[in-house]
């Protein structure tokens, strides 16, 4: 029997082996593996997010445009649902039973004990119907949340819209503070000023037990934060002017941008065709969005920012300013209206000086003006000379805010195109192109693209005689001012006196007999409009009409650009429209004898086209 005593070591060994396994396993799950701690917090910590009031949006006269209203969601806590009479439930809510099943399944997948939305944005009749019957449906509840509501039917393109955050966005670090189901600005001002509008969310950590019953604050609220309401935005938009602009653009495609040249504040921002901002709120947002997206007239396309057109004859003003700055012409320089250089569209008096040339928009004259700027005989090779000249020309042009982002405070701005020598080198080869290749730039046609916003800004520059503030919508954030970048003056490379000598030409366009922009004339109301017409060659159809202007010429308060697609010559449709806008803004009303314009202008663009 003695040798059996040794077996006590075997027994002890078994005991110790198990203890060792436990020690290692416990060390692993308690000390090494942190995932259990996270799981424990997920069990017991409930994060209650208090979404603050989203900031409201006002126009420049303090008129409320965008505010918040409560909407109601139907929530469900799957584990509390008992004996659900689905037939009756679906009948009350007028929803197909498959939808209910899908919804319940999705809610269960999310969590059995936490509430998830089953129906969002209950309509008023739905809310009334279900609220009375809620006692019969345990596990279902109604929760109010705030949604965007609009006091205006206009400027959807500038305001943008608010929508639920997408799963794709949630993965980006930029949206780390958001959770699924949150709403945020998707486009326009709502998106650009998301941070300011949203405010700061409050977070409270509550401890809950296994049944979801609250058991008090976590660490006495050490980690809780209070919510801070979003800041209101005060826009520079004049809601009346905006409404008027959208009215005038009815039935057309195009845009109107009006800027206060002294401040860079945008007064009107019309993109046509337009749609009511309410269409991108509430139930069925996704469907309506798709509807707008599929619309052939592309209402979602933010034309003032994202459409680039050749500026047409308006660009002659820029070429004249550059030539004056370079000293290659004077205001008194005359060039013959030589039709062999380039066709001139209308018959007119001899362009003996720049004012006459601008008034009549003489193509050969500006061919020669730009030729003087570009061909300076700095190289015996005419190709090299043209390239040198074009590079210098481009430097001046870009100082007008062209071929760059102006930095407006909504997303989606396009830069446009001002070609560089490099651009033509790539297309034709180095030293294989000359002035004859690029001459169309002299009259604002060809390989050049600018946005309606840049065009309006161009007018602001002429109004200011050489400088601009970046155009922007928001003049006040909460109680503060605009963003700092909008208080920074940008100067062009052209001296003020050169602008001064171009303005008589612009005045002549509108105010002299035979001027191309005579339809924008407001002299009868004592307003001196300075402007320039343009007709944008369009290889796809009828030409686009454009007119850009500022007024009053002696103390400019508004700079405006109007683009109407496929409306032919700028003087016949764009000019009167700009005139009305200016009058509306400066006088607040339209002279009775111009009412016929008001009646005639809204409608399809083709009516303005005169085929020769």
């Amino acid at each position: 029997m003695q040798y059996l005593e040794g077996r006590k070591f075997v027994v002890q060994g078994i005991f110790l082996a198990v203890a060792l396994v436990f020690a290692v396993r416990l060390f692993h799950i308690q000390v090494l593996d942190g995932s259990y701690k996270l799981a424990a917090d997920k069990n017991t910590l409930q994060r209650i997010v208090q979404t603050p009031y989203r900031g409201m949006i006002y126009d420049r006269n303090g008129q409320l445009l965008v505010h918040n209203i409560p909407v109601y969601d139907l929530l469900v806590i799957p584990r509390e649902v008992k004996n659900l009479d689905s037939a009756r439930f679906c009948q009350i809510l007028q929803m197909p039973i498959e939808e209910l099943r899908e919804g319940l399944k999705a809610a269960k997948t999310y969590s059995r004990s936490k509430a998830s939305p089953l129906v969002q944005n209950l309509s008023t009749p739905e809310l009334a119907a279900i609220q009375d019957n809620l006692v019969d449906f345990p596990g279902f509840s109604i929760k109010a949340r705030m949604a965007r509501a609009y006091r205006t039917d206009n400027m959807a393109h500038a305001l943008g819209y608010v929508g639920p955050i997408s799963p794709m966005m949630l993965e980006k670090p930029k949206y780390a503070k958001y959770v699924a189901g949150d709403f945020l600005g998707i486009s326009g001002l709502e998106s650009f000023y998301e941070k300011e509008l949203m405010g700061r969310r409050g977070v409270q950590y509550r401890m809950v037990n296994v049944r979801g019953v609250e058991k008090g604050a976590f660490r006495d609220g050490e980690f809780d934060t209070l919510s801070v309401a979003g800041q209101d935005l005060h826009l520079s938009i004049d809601a009346e002017l905006q409404k008027y602009g959208e009215f005038l653009m009815q039935g057309k495609r195009g845009s109107i941008v009006a800027i206060d040249p002294k401040t860079g504040e945008i007064l009107a921002f019309v993109s046509a065709p337009a749609f009511e901002p309410t269409r991108l709120t509430g139930k069925g947002l996704g469907n309506r969005y798709m509807e707008l997206l599929r619309d052939e007239s592309r209402p979602l396309f933010n034309r003032p920012l994202a459409a680039t057109y050749p500026p047409g004859s308006v660009f002659k003003l820029v070429n004249e300013a550059i030539a004056l700055q370079e000293g290659v012409v004077t205001p008194e320089t005359g060039f013959p209206c030589n039709q062999r250089l380039v066709r001139c569209t209308h018959r007119h008096e001899y362009p003996a000086n720049s004012t006459i040339a601008i008034k009549n928009s003489c193509n050969p004259y500006f061919y020669q003006v730009m030729f003087a700027t570009v061909r300076r005989n700095r190289s015996p090779n005419k190709f090299k000379d043209a390239a040198l000249g074009l590079a210098e020309w481009r430097k001046h042009v870009t100082s007008f805010g062209l071929a760059q982002h102006l930095g407006v405070d909504i997303p989606g701005e396009r830069m446009g195109l001002i070609p560089s020598p490099n651009f033509y080198d790539k297309r034709y080869g180095q030293n294989r192109w000359g002035y004859k290749t690029v001459y169309s730039l002299s009259i604002g046609q060809g390989e050049i693209g600018i946005t309606p916003l840049q065009m309006a800004n161009l007018m602001a520059i002429f109004a200011n005689r050489g400088w601009y503030y970046a155009p922007h919508f928001v003049r006040r954030i909460g109680n503060g001012g605009p963003l700092p970048q909008f208080a920074q003056k940008h100067y062009t490379t052209v001296a003020a006196q050169h602008f001064e000598s171009i303005i008589p030409g612009m005045l002549a366009v509108v105010n002299q007999r035979g001027g191309t922009g005579i339809n924008a004339n407001l002299s009868d109301a004592g307003i001196w409009v300075a402007g320039k017409t343009g007709t944008v060659q369009n290889p796809h159809g009828d030409d686009h009409a454009t007119f850009a202007a500022f007024a009053p010429a002696e103390d400019p308060k508004i700079a405006i650009s109007v683009f109407i697609e496929n409306a032919g010559f700028g003087g016949s449709s764009a000019a009167p429209l700009a005139g009305l806008m200016i009058e509306k803004y400066l006088r607040g009303k339209i002279a009775p004898w111009r009412n016929r314009w008001e009646q005639w202008l809204p409608g399809p663009a083709h009516r303005f086209v005169v085929h020769h």
Binding site: M1, F15, F22, L26, I29, K37, A40, N43, V210
Partner: protein, 429 residues
């Protein structure tokens, strides 16, 4: 006999360990049932019946009763255990039978006897009576001598109580009787039986993890390799090699049959979630998942006394009885769980030490039975809370809340101390 000698002969180390473990157990039962809405002061202002609503207070009452039990057990002459071993065994079998007939089912098991306000689980007391009976029997035979009839009687003695317990649907408590094998091993049982059982366990786990045809394939390849590289062994021991192979292959399929046809669906589920707890996290996997989360979130030093969120907010089920170890793990961290493991190891080592110093086979076998039973509970209970063993409803000795369990372990342990205390007097007499 005089009192001084008597008090000296009690094994103070074991007693101290017992007091420590029961004390720590009470502390954790208090924490597990602690509710911030019912603070201590409020409890004491309420009356007695109100106090009885608290697990920790009831546990305190049972500890008080256990002290009385201890005194009685030590005062009783050790010879009484020897003498009345079979009587106690018989009485217990009768009690199990009675329970089976009259007990109302509680949570699917007919194992609780209700005596007025107190509920007792006779299965708990089957452990020490069976231990006494087999020790008594063992003292009269020699396991080394291959007396088949005696061996069968021993097997019968060991298997009768668990059979009755299984009939009352309390499988966990029945499994405990398997622990007696360790005691028999010490008394001369062939180690082959332990090895075969261990191999069986390995095959069981393997056959649940890998497809059984793979397993058979692997064993065949091993046999073939042995044959190729050392054909001499096979030639000399061919019958042994082939029969081992046959047994192993038989086990693979046997386990499969056992798993699919013998086990009840809920038992199958428990093994399934052991292998993959995320298979059914809200159903059968819930206990394992939540208990691992509670223990795992404790960290190195724990969240502190009464600070455990998982246990206090009811995420862990049965938190003061079978899952009391979760409270230890969550509130005291690895530090606390290691103290518990070390306490058990020390106690087991001490029991083995005490058993080995017994002069009689009866005393020694009984000592080993005590160690084996406590070890089995320790193994399975802690194993299930950390996902190493299937969820079998057996308590952690001395720690878990519950009168039956506390008393049964107290009796189990102090009968041994009683026997041990008289060991020296035997010499004196």
């Amino acid at each position: 006999m005089n009192q001084v000698r008597y008090s000296r002969s009690i094994d103070w180390v074991t007693l101290l360990l017992y007091i420590l473990m029961v004390g720590l157990g009470l502390l954790n039962v208090y924490a597990a049932s602690y509710s911030p809405e019912m603070p201590f002061s409020k409890v004491f202002s309420s009356d007695w019946s109100g106090l009885m609503a608290f697990n920790w207070f009831k546990q305190l009452v049972w500890i008080g009763a256990a002290v009385v039990l201890i005194v009685i057990l030590i005062v009783i002459d050790y010879k009484a255990y020897d003498t009345f071993a079979y009587v106690l065994y018989g009485g217990m079998i009768a009690l199990l039978l009675v329970t089976l007939v009259i007990a109302r089912p509680i949570a699917g098991s007919r194992s609780w006897l209700e005596l007025g306000p107190v509920r007792l689980q006779p299965a708990e007391f089957a452990k020490f009576t069976t231990a006494l009976a087999v020790s008594r029997f063992m003292a009269g035979i020699n396991l080394r001598q291959q007396n088949f009839r005696q061996q069968m009687v021993l097997v019968g003695l060991t298997l009768l109580p668990p059979a009755l317990i299984i009939a009352s649907n309390e499988t966990g408590q029945a499994l405990v009787f398997g622990a007696f094998l360790l005691a028999y091993f010490r008394e001369g049982m062939s180690p082959l039986i332990l090895l075969i059982l261990a191999a069986g366990a390995v095959v069981l786990i393997l056959s649940l993890l890998v497809p059984k045809l793979w397993l058979v394939g692997v064993f065949t390849v091993i046999l073939a390799l042995v044959f190729v590289f050392n054909s001499r062994i096979l030639r000399h021991h061919l019958p042994l090699a082939l029969s081992t192979y046959a047994v192993v292959v038989g086990m693979v399929f046997g386990v499969d049959f056992f798993y699919n046809n013998v086990l009840q669906p809920h038992q199958r589920k428990r093994i399934e979630v052991l292998i993959n707890p995320s298979a059914d996290p809200l159903g059968f996997g819930w206990n394992v998942t939540q208990s691992k989360i509670a223990i795992g979130s404790g960290g190195l030093l724990g969240k502190g006394f009464l600070e455990g969120t998982q246990t206090r907010f009811d995420f862990v089920p049965e938190q003061s009885t079978d899952f009391i170890f979760c409270t230890v793990g969550e509130e005291w961290g690895w530090f606390g769980t290691m103290i518990t493991v070390v306490l058990f190891m020390t106690l087991l080592a001490r029991i083995i030490y005490v058993a080995e110093r017994q002069k009689s086979v009866f005393g020694r076998t009984y000592g080993y039975c005590v160690a084996s039973i406590i070890f089995f509970h320790f193994c399975v209970n802690i194993g299930m809370t950390i996902g190493l063993a299937p969820v079998v409803g057996i308590p952690l000795p001395f720690f878990s809340y519950g009168g039956s369990s506390l008393w049964s372990f107290t009796i189990l342990l102090f009968i041994l101390l009683g026997i041990d205390a008289y060991r020296k007097q035997d010499l004196v007499r």
